[in-house]
């Protein structure tokens, strides 16, 4: 696999397509079966971190598709596009990305996950006394994935992260509309959810209200070593 960051915040918007094309054209050899263009972005009003990914079997339309994908992200609320990355593979990797559940199935999966988290943390010494008098809500980041069919590419995939499932699903729905409007995607094939395990979660914040308590959980961190390149 060849992978590279071909554009980063601070470079000119109009360079995205050209940079992608340049990298893909240079690296595309006979053994290459598929390439992936990935937009890594964050919407700062709602705090959704997301990735837009397109899979292609030919380098022909890379420039136009990369540009369209980039501008779809850029004009989504208050988005900052952090990076544009390109990857080249000697096999068809898009076949491995399959998300075919309905949004309702994924919502149920999310509810089950939150119940599992609640079961694990309700007896925590910081939570147990509060849980006796107030309703407790647990918040953990999850990743909603959407697989889309495309007439211009092998596949388009959205990965978006937030802890509020309704906010997240509305955000992904609006991205889908934009991708279809730009003719990068034609229809939704299905959804998936990435939750991670509950084993490494820890409580980081407790927000008290009159009748409710919000408990924020995150995954345990590795200590930061300044000498290791970030």
């Amino acid at each position: 696999m060849y992978a590279a960051t071909v554009w980063g915040w601070g470079e000119r918007f109009e360079d995205v397509g050209r940079n992608c094309k340049k990298h893909v054209d240079k690296r595309w050899k006979e053994n290459i079966k598929e390439c992936k263009i990935e937009i890594m972005a964050s919407e700062r009003n709602d705090g959704v971190c997301y990735w837009l990914t397109v899979y292609l079997s030919s380098p022909r339309d890379v420039e136009k598709i990369a540009e369209d994908l980039f501008y779809t992200a850029l004009f989504k609320g208050d988005t900052k596009v952090d990076f544009v990355n390109t990857y080249l593979f000697d096999s068809m990797v898009s076949n491995k990305v399959v998300c075919r559940k309905s949004i309702d199935e994924v919502r149920n999966e999310f509810d089950m996950f939150i119940k599992e988290v609640a079961k694990r943390f309700r007896s925590d010494s910081k939570i147990e006394p509060i849980a006796k008098v107030k309703k407790v809500e647990f918040n953990v980041d999850v990743c909603l994935i959407c697989e889309l069919e495309s007439t211009v590419a092998n596949k388009v995939v959205i990965d978006a992260i937030h802890w509020d499932f309704e906010l997240l699903s509305n955000f992904v729905k609006s991205l889908i509309d934009d991708l279809i409007e730009k003719e990068l995607a034609s229809r939704v094939l299905g959804y998936g959810l990435r939750t991670g395990s509950t084993d490494s979660l820890e409580i980081v914040d407790i927000g008290q209200r009159k009748e409710m308590v919000f408990v924020r959980l995150e995954r345990r961190n590795k200590p930061f070593d300044k000498n290791v390149d970030s």
Binding site: G10, R44, G47, C49, F75, G77, D164, R219, N221, K222
Partner: protein, 267 residues
């Protein structure tokens, strides 16, 4: 060091009886004297030391550039630019640039009209100046890598730290406010070292920021780039709103809602 006020030229700074500087303006405070230099840089003289400090305007400008700004050298020009969707923030950048450097940035916009006829715009304010670019590079405000930044902590007093954080958060901060009243403040960056320094600045002001985390590997797609963040706990949100604040219209609106939620909580 001693200071003499003169009738002719303002203020003289003396070291062992020798004049080491003459300044037209000075602000005398309880434990220090501030002499105005140029481009938002002041000379702060106290019993312990003399150092160059940034005015709050310059500090906020640096915070904005560290988040959504860039300092670039092209073949014929040097550019200091700031990009955002928020008009008020762009306007704030321009006013700060004017105040600090006496330069009015050029404004550009990239727009997109949806099928429904909704116009979406992205704004870019650009200062074309080698002098400004080098002045900011010299203090490590942004670069040499695109994402690299270091807050100029040694040049910031308390007001400067607050102003820098206001600038940085207006760019790379996030205020999540959900309909059930939950709120979360996050600060993002792709450059972990700089983010750790930002976190330390919050601590210096008496905040209790959580540790810097890498975006959750268990749920993010596999990729070659990482993003880092830290959150400000809810107990510090009102302090944040009062002491740091923002220039961003959407955050200002959310801050008002958070204040009213917290007001209700105290009733």
């Amino acid at each position: 060091m001693t200071i003499n006020e003169t009738e002719k030229c303002g203020y003289e700074l003396l070291k062992s009886g020798e004049v080491v500087g003459i300044f037209p303006e000075a602000r005398i405070e309880e434990s220090r004297v501030i002499f105005k230099l140029s481009h938002g840089v002041n000379l702060e003289v106290s019993e312990k030391r003399a150092r160059e400090t940034f005015s709050p305007e310059r500090a906020e400008l640096c915070g904005l550039i560290a988040s959504d700004g860039t300092i670039c050298k092209y073949v014929r020009t040097h550019e200091v630019s700031f990009k955002n969707v928020d008009c008020e923030l762009i306007d704030g950048f321009c006013r700060l640039a004017d105040e600090v450097y006496d330069i009015k940035p050029h404004l550009y916009s990239t727009s997109h009209v949806t099928k429904e006829g909704e116009k979406r715009e992205y704004y870019r304010a650009v200062i074309y100046s080698k002098k400004v670019a080098y002045d900011l590079w010299m203090f490590g405000v942004k670069g040499p890598g695109y994402y690299e930044f270091h807050p100029p902590i040694e040049h910031l007093d308390e007001e400067g730290i607050k102003a820098y954080l206001r600038g940085f958060f207006s760019g790379d901060g996030n205020v999540s406010l959900c309909k059930d009243g939950q709120h979360e403040f996050r600060v993002y960056s792709s450059f972990r070292e700089g983010l750790e320094e930002i976190r330390e600045m919050f601590e210096m002001l008496g905040f209790h920021p959580h540790e810097v985390r890498e975006e959750d590997k268990e749920i993010t797609p596999e990729g070659i780039r990482k993003r880092f963040y830290f959150t400000i706990p809810e107990e510090d949100h009102l302090k944040f709103i009062e002491e740091i604040g923002t220039r961003k219209a959407e955050f200002k609106r959310k801050f008002e809602l958070i204040k009213s939620i917290n007001g209700r909580r105290e009733d």
